[in-house]
């Protein structure tokens, strides 16, 4: 057997050596887990849209860098008035859309007005809520006036939802996206792959790759062999559970970064017996976060005690509040009059953190007498049943939006959580710009959520990237869901 393998491998290697090109490669196949529903980042919330198009095909006034910093993009510079309400953006010259038409300040006004219009289908209209008016000063200067000063405005303009589109192609971007970026759209084989090619008339620093194919690989099972066989050279968002399959293989570069994804065991707070605080607290005590992280995310990921990333400057460590303690959990259930335990369902969306974590949690809760029926659901069903109709007991999901503490004060949100004290804090927070004051309020908010055991706080989802060791320039962290390819190159 061994000998056979050696002979075959030698034959294959000889063949490969004879055919391989000597110049550095300029093509890349990237694996992405989900297929975008369409290709217009200004008309949909799906992260998969940005994963393909952000920074590659579409550009905004500003952009988010690999570590979450704001960088200039189509605006080469800007000036902010003293009251913080007026932004003057100076645009790059010589910028062209992929269809050949020129880019100017009119396109900026068009794009932002379109995004904030009443009939806009933009998924993040809140980004533009503070914009009062947009004026075209000259073809390369735009002045944006805000209703109130907003510290995050430049950051907001860097979101995928705020990219600049051309009036000519705005309505057809869903099928044939036309942007100003270094790559232009070539082809979308539905259900299979999306191909981008280098744009010849790009205004900025030229990119290294000529052709990039985003291959849709929903199953981790298919991702591993595709990577090992070299069919796909990079998975920027790799299934953490599979990382042990490629770790230690010198052919690959495995990067563990951070995300803004709080992974939680969401609880329907209005549905008995989960409306009882003791029951929710009992669940929190029954959870063994280390086991969950080890079993569902290959030991990667940091435990959390409330809804905030440990990397966030306003993070408060509340993980000590509910240590793994079966006796305490049983005691609390007894207090709630449920010492005999009860049955409930656990609906699990497709990602492995949910499906694997769900099995572990079901086994952990069984120890305190809660018998969970596991119901696997697809995203469409999850959105319909859990998120919209709130027809669920427990579910596991990762909330990947940054700074999303406010969801707990939304009246109709699927947690069915209602605590006026918490709402007051969030309301105050929205009117506060002083950093120390904000930090204090955010700390209080985190504390309330943990005290109320609104959901079972599990861990911060890791970002695991795996790519060919000869590949350089991919993002290590995921401040936003994107695959910025502008600096990516092969090193041989």
């Amino acid at each position: 057997m061994k000998l056979w393998k050696t002979i075959l491998a030698a034959a294959v290697l000889t063949f490969a050596a004879a055919t391989s090109a000597f110049a550095a490669r300029t093509d890349l196949v990237i694996g992405i887990p989900l297929e975008p529903p369409h290709l217009d980042p200004t008309a949909g919330a799906a992260a998969a849209i940005d994963e393909v198009l952000y920074a590659n095909v579409f550009e905004g006034l500003t952009r988010i860098g690999p570590n979450g910093e704001v960088l200039p993009d189509l605006a080469e510079s800007w000036a902010i008035s003293d009251d913080g309400k007026t932004y003057s953006f100076k645009l790059h010259t010589g910028v062209k859309f992929h269809d050949g038409s020129g880019f100017s300040a009119d396109d900026v006004k068009f794009s932002l007005d379109r995004a904030r219009a009443d009939n806009s289908v933009n998924a993040q209209k809140g980004l533009f809520a503070q914009i009062d008016r947009i004026d075209v000063v000259d073809p390369v200067t735009v002045k944006i006036t805000l209703k109130n000063s907003q510290g995050s405005f430049l950051y907001n303009m860097g979101w995928g939802d705020a990219v600049i589109v051309s009036p000519k192609s705005a309505d057809t971007n869903k099928e044939k996206p036309i942007g100003t970026g270094p790559f232009k759209f070539q082809n979308w084989a539905k259900g299979s792959s999306i191909t981008l090619v280098k744009s010849d008339n790009y205004w900025g620093a030229p990119v290294f790759l000529d052709k990039v194919e985003f291959r849709i690989v929903p199953d981790a099972a298919a991702a591993v062999p595709a990577l090992l066989s070299g069919d796909i050279q990079a998975f920027p968002f790799f299934d953490p559970d599979s990382v042990s399959q490629v770790k230690g293989d010198p052919r690959f570069h495995v990067v563990i970064g951070s995300t803004e994804g709080e992974t939680i065991l969401a609880i329907n707070n209005k549905k008995p017996p989960f409306d009882k605080l003791q029951v929710r607290q009992a669940i929190s005590f029954a959870l063994d976060r280390k086991a969950i992280i080890d079993g569902a995310s290959a030991g990667l990921g940091v435990p959390i005690g409330s809804h905030m990333s440990p990397a966030n400057k306003d993070y408060v460590d509340l993980t000590g509040l509910y240590p793994h303690n079966i006796d305490k959990a049983k005691e609390l259930l007894k207090e709630a009059g449920l010492e005999k335990g009860f049955k409930a369902t656990l609906k699990l969306p497709p990602p492995s953190y949910a499906r694997l974590g769900g099995e572990i949690i079901a086994s952990e809760l069984r120890e305190i007498g809660i018998d969970l029926e596991i119901v696997p659901v697809e995203w469409a069903q999850w959105l319909d049943q859990v998120f919209t109709k709130k027809d669920y007991d427990l579910t596991i999901v990762s909330h990947t939006e940054p700074n999303d503490l406010g969801i707990y004060s939304r009246k109709d949100y699927y947690f069915n959580y209602d605590n006026p004290a918490f709402d007051t804090i969030i309301a105050k927070l929205n009117l506060t710009s002083d950093e120390t004051k904000r930090k204090e309020l955010l700390g209080e908010a985190q504390k309330i959520l943990a005290d109320d055991a609104v959901v079972g706080f599990l861990y911060e989802l890791p970002k695991v990237g795996v790519w060919d060791a000869k590949l350089q320039g991919l993002w290590e962290n995921a401040p936003i869901q994107a695959n910025d390819l502008t600096k990516v190159k092969w090193t041989e």
Partner: protein, 289 residues
């Protein structure tokens, strides 16, 4: 006039002697017995508890402590295969039961009645056969939700026309025979004849088809569980174990090898058993699928 009962002419002893001389039967029987014994044993004893996850022991290679290694949750693979046998057998058995319970009366009825009833049955059969079974099973479980019960129904439905067809063909061959004519002359009704004379005579055919469908049922259940539409955790099932294994083939190949072998061996045993039974009871019969 004495009525000749059309049972095999051989004595029980003769059949047994033939059985012991038939290699397919012996091997198949031994394997099937082993699988059944393991499944029954799993009710009272398994090396480890399969509902307890021991994350600290995850993906351990086969060792004296865990003969087949452990899975990604630290569960003992041997124990899971034992409990999984239960699930596979239950699903396949009930699915065969559904197929026989509904299909055989339908087939027998069509053969007895002939003409319109027969034609109608054959057309419905055509209809069901036009749907690739797996596709339909996937659709059924997609509608009613994944789970062992729905998997049984989905597989069972596609056993119905199979048994209807076998029963019909067998019955059609027997109806013109002399002893049936005699029974009719004696004033027996259609139903009575079907139950008393036709059924015993097609029992062999049904038994052989039953083992084939049983084996196919085990494969189908594994397929459905593999795409996540069969038995749900924490109930172990062989197909699901393979699903869990496939992302870990590089580091934990035992997770895929042993459940896969369990399926192969069980199906192999059932097929050999079916072959053997067919040979022993009716040397001329050939199995067609």
């Amino acid at each position: 006039m004495t009525m000749r009962v059309d049972l095999p002419e051989e004595t029980l002893a003769g059949v047994l002697a033939k059985a012991f001389g038939n290699r397919s039967f012996l091997i198949g029987f031994a394997i099937t017995l082993l699988v059944a014994a393991v499944a029954i044993l799993s009710f009272i004893w398994t090396p480890y508890d399969v509902t307890r996850l021991v994350i600290a022991d995850k993906t351990q290679a086969p060792s004296p402590a865990h003969w087949f290694g452990t899975d990604h949750f630290g569960r003992d693979i041997l124990s899971m295969i034992m409990v999984g046998a239960r699930n596979s057998i239950a699903v396949a058995l009930v699915a065969v039961g559904i197929g026989m319970g509904v299909g055989v009366p339908l087939g027998a009825f069509a053969a007895a009645r002939g003409s319109l009833a027969d034609e109608a049955l054959m057309r419905v059969n055509d209809l069901v056969f036009a749907f690739p079974a797996l596709l339909s099973a996937i659709m059924i479980t997609a509608i009613f939700g994944p789970g062992a019960v729905n998997a049984i129904i989905a597989i069972g439905i596609f056993n119905i026309p199979v048994f209807a067809r076998v029963a019909r063909a067998g019955a059609l061959a027997i109806w013109p025979r002399e002893f049936i004519l005699a029974a009719r002359a004696a004033g027996k009704g259609m139903t009575q004849i079907s139950v008393e004379h036709i059924l015993p005579n097609i029992a062999t055919l049904l038994l052989v088809q039953g083992t084939i469908q049983f084996a196919l049922g085990i494969l189908a259940e594994a397929g459905l569980s593999y795409v996540g539409l069969g038995a749900q955790p924490p109930m172990p099932s062989w197909g699901r174990m393979l699903f869990d294994a496939q992302t870990r083939m590089v580091t934990a190949p035992w997770m895929a090898i042993f459940p896969g072998m369990a399926i192969v061996i069980t199906v192999l045993g059932l097929n050999l058993l079916g072959d053997g039974i067919a040979d022993i009871l009716d040397p001329k019969s050939r199995r067609r699928r």
